[in-house]
C-alpha cells in the first residue's frame, strides 16, 4: 500500500505534475541553465538537494510555525539551505560553481521549492514530504536534462563537452540563445500535454468500458 503511494508520487513528479512541463515553475533557471547537459545536471541536483532538505525541515516544523509568518520562515529556511549548497560548491566543485554562477543563489526564488513547501510539506508528515521532494526533484532534473540535451546537441554540436558531429557540423546557434530555449521548451510542453491528454482519454474510456457508472 505504501509502495503504491510512493510510486504514484513518483509518476506525478516526473510526468503528470512535472514542475517544469506541467506546473511551469522555475522557468528562469530552466531556460538560462540548459545550454549544456553538465550544467543542467548540476543545477538539477542542487535544486533536488535543497528541495529535499527544505521539505524535511518545513514538514518537521509545520505545527510550530504560526500561520502569519509561514512564508517568511519558509524563505529563511530555503535560503539557508541554498547558501549551504553554494558554499559547499565553491569549496568542492569550483568549476561547476563558476559555470552555474549567479543561478545557484537564484535557487532561493525558484518557485518549485516554495510551491512544494506551501502545497505539500506544510501539510504532510516528514516521510511523504521526503518522497515528494525526491519525486519533484527528479522530475525537474529530467526536464532540464531533456531540454539541455536538445539545445546542446543541435545548438553547439556537443554533448557533455564532447563534440558529437565533428567539425563540419554547422550548429543551430539560435538554440543556445534564450529565444531558442523558449521555442524548444514550447515544443516539449506541447508534446507532454499531448501524451497526458491521450492518457486521460484512455483512462476515461477504460472507466466507461468497465461499466462504472461514476463519472470523474
Amino acid at each position: 500500500m505504501a509502495g503504491k503511494k510512493i510510486s504514484a508520487q513518483f509518476k506525478e513528479g516526473i510526468l503528470t505534475n512535472n514542475p517544469v512541463f506541467v506546473q511551469l515553475l522555475g522557468m528562469c533557471s530552466t531556460l538560462a541553465i540548459t545550454t549544456t547537459v553538465t550544467n543542467a545536471l548540476g543545477m538539477g541536483l542542487s535544486v533536488t538537494a535543497v528541495l529535499i532538505c527544505s521539505n524535511i525541515l518545513i514538514s518537521a516544523l509545520r505545527k510550530i510555525i504560526p500561520n502569519q509568518i509561514r512564508i517568511a520562515s519558509y524563505i529563511v529556511i530555503i535560503s539557508g539551505f541554498v547558501t549551504v549548497v553554494e558554499m559547499l560548491m565553491k569549496a568542492y566543485t569550483p568549476e561547476l560553481s563558476k559555470s552555474l554562477g549567479l543561478f545557484i543563489p537564484l535557487i532561493v526564488v525558484n518557485c518549485i521549492i516554495l510551491a512544494r513547501a506551501e502545497a505539500f510539506a506544510s501539510k504532510n508528515a516528514v516521510l511523504p514530504s521526503i518522497i515528494d521532494g525526491v519525486a519533484m526533484g527528479i522530475g525537474y532534473t529530467v526536464a532540464l536534462i531533456l531540454l539541455a540535451f536538445i539545445r546542446e546537441l543541435f545548438g553547439s554540436g556537443t554533448l557533455l563537452g564532447y563534440s558529437v558531429f565533428g567539425d563540419s557540423y554547422q550548429p543551430v546557434s539560435m538554440l543556445v540563445s534564450p529565444a531558442g530555449a523558449f521555442i524548444t521548451l514550447g515544443f516539449i510542453i506541447a508534446a507532454v500535454q499531448k501524451i497526458l491528454l491521450r492518457k486521460k482519454d484512455r483512462d476515461f474510456r477504460k472507466q466507461h468500458e468497465s461499466g462504472d457508472g461514476s463519472d470523474d
Binding site: 504560526p66 509568518i69 506544510s122
Partner: protein
C-alpha cells in the same frame, strides 16, 4: 444536545473553510469547482449561526478570493449539510494530491487557517518562532562557512595561479606580498621564475554593470602591462560579459601609465559600463607605479593621488628586518619594503642582471 450541535457546526464550518482555501489554491478542475460551491453554501449557512461569528471575517476573506460569481451568501437552512459536505470536500480534495489527508493533524491544520490569533501572547510566539528559526539558520551557515572557508580560499588561489601562469608562462611560483594598499587592490603577487623576480600580478576590483568585476593585472619588467585576466564578473551574458574575451583584453598588453578610453583601449559597443569598469580597475593598478626592477617609474610623480587607495606609494614596513646584502644595493628596493613569505635571495641582483635573465618575450595570441 445544544452544545453538541453547535460544536458540530463549528467543526463543519472550520473544515469547510479549509476546503475552500485548499480548493482556491489549486488548479481549477470541474470537481474542485462543485466542491467549492458546496463548501461555500455550507459555509454561508454556518455563518448565520451566532456561535461562529468570530470566523466571519475569515469567511468573507476566503469567499472574496473565489470571485467567480457563484459564491453568494444565501439564507439557506443547510446547516445539516455542513457535516456530510465536509467529508465530501475532504475526499475529493485528494484528486491532485496523494497522501494528503491521513496525517491526523486536523487540529494543526485548523489553526493554520483560522485568523483568530489576535491575542497578545500570539505576537510574542510569532516573534519567538521567527527569531529562533533565523538564529538556527545563522548558526548553521556560520558553521558551514567556517568548515569550507579554507577549501574555498584554496580554490581562489588556484584560480589566481592559473591566471598568473597564463600571463607569465615562464613563472614557477608566485608569492603574495603584504602591502599597504587598500581598496580596490585585493592582493599583490610577486611572480618568480625560480629565484628571479619577473613581474607582479595585482588583483583589483571595479564596479561593473551587474556587480564587482575581479581582475588580475600582470606587470612586467619596465612597468608595462603584461596582460589582464578577468577572475570573476557578473555582467549581462553576451553583452557586458564580452569584456572577458582574450582578444579584447589583449588590447591592454604593453600599455603603460594611466590609460584613457579611446586613446589606449576601445570600449565594446553596447557594453560601455563594463568596459569602463575594466579600464578603471587596470588604472587602479597602473597608479601604483609598480616596476619589476626595483625602481618606481617616472609616471608616479605626475599622477594625482587616487581617491580610493589609502596610500599611493609603497611605505616601508617598520617591523621588517632589512635584508643583509653584499655589494651595491640599489636605492628604494622594493624587496626591503615587502615582507616575502619565502626566503629572500641573499643577493639582490642588479638591474642589468634582471634585464638579461628575463627578456620580454614577444606575444603571439
Amino acid at each position: 444536545m445544544q452544545s453538541n450541535d453547535s460544536e458540530k457546526k463549528k467543526l463543519g464550518h472550520r473544515h469547510a473553510v479549509r476546503g475552500i482555501y485548499r480548493a482556491a489554491s489549486k488548479e481549477e478542475t470541474p470537481a474542485a469547482e462543485t466542491n467549492v460551491k458546496a463548501a461555500a453554501e455550507s459555509l454561508a449557512a454556518a455563518v448565520q449561526d451566532e456561535n461562529v461569528k468570530e470566523s466571519a471575517p475569515a469567511a468573507e476573506e476566503v469567499t472574496a478570493e473565489k470571485d467567480n460569481g457563484t459564491v453568494s451568501e444565501k439564507e439557506d437552512t443547510a446547516a445539516d449539510k455542513a457535516v456530510p459536505e465536509e467529508t465530501d470536500v475532504r475526499e475529493n480534495d485528494g484528486t491532485s494530491e496523494t497522501a494528503s489527508e491521513d496525517t491526523g493533524s486536523q487540529d494543526g491544520d485548523d489553526d493554520q487557517y483560522a485568523e483568530d490569533k489576535g491575542s497578545a501572547g500570539g505576537i510574542f510566539k510569532i516573534g519567538a518562532v521567527l527569531l529562533s528559526i533565523c538564529a538556527v539558520v545563522t548558526l548553521v551557515l556560520s558553521l558551514v562557512n567556517f568548515l569550507t572557508f579554507d577549501a574555498a580560499q584554496a580554490n581562489k588561489k588556484k584560480e589566481i595561479d592559473i591566471a598568473i601562469s597564463s600571463m607569465f608562462p615562464k613563472s614557477t611560483s608566485s608569492v603574495e606580498v603584504e602591502t599597504e594598499y587598500g581598496d580596490p587592490i585585493s592582493g599583490v603577487y610577486k611572480v618568480m621564475e625560480n629565484d628571479t623576480h619577473i613581474g607582479y600580478a595585482v588583483g583589483t576590483t571595479a564596479n561593473g554593470f551587474g556587480g564587482k568585476i575581479e581582475m588580475l593585472v600582470g606587470i612586467e619588467n619596465g612597468g608595462n602591462i603584461r596582460g589582464v585576466k578577468i577572475i570573476s564578473l557578473s555582467e549581462t551574458p553576451n553583452v557586458g560579459s564580452r569584456v572577458d574575451d582574450d582578444e579584447y583584453l589583449s588590447g591592454y598588453k604593453g600599455k603603460s601609465g594611466i590609460l584613457k578610453l579611446k586613446e589606449d583601449i576601445d570600449a565594446i559597443s553596447g557594453a560601455s559600463i563594463s568596459s569602463k569598469a575594466v579600464l578603471t580597475g587596470v588604472n587602479s593598478v597602473m597608479q601604483l607605479g609598480l616596476d619589476v626592477d626595483g625602481r618606481e617609474t617616472e609616471d608616479n610623480e605626475e599622477t594625482s593621488e587616487p581617491d580610493n587607495t589609502e596610500t599611493g606609494r609603497l611605505l616601508p614596513d617598520p617591523e621588517l628586518e632589512t635584508v643583509p646584502v653584499e655589494g651595491d644595493v640599489p636605492d628604494a628596493s622594493y624587496d626591503t619594503y615587502f615582507r616575502a613569505e619565502t626566503a629572500v635571495p641573499e643577493e639582490i641582483p642588479d638591474e642589468t642582471a634582471i634585464l638579461e635573465i628575463v627578456p620580454v618575450p614577444s606575444e603571439e595570441k
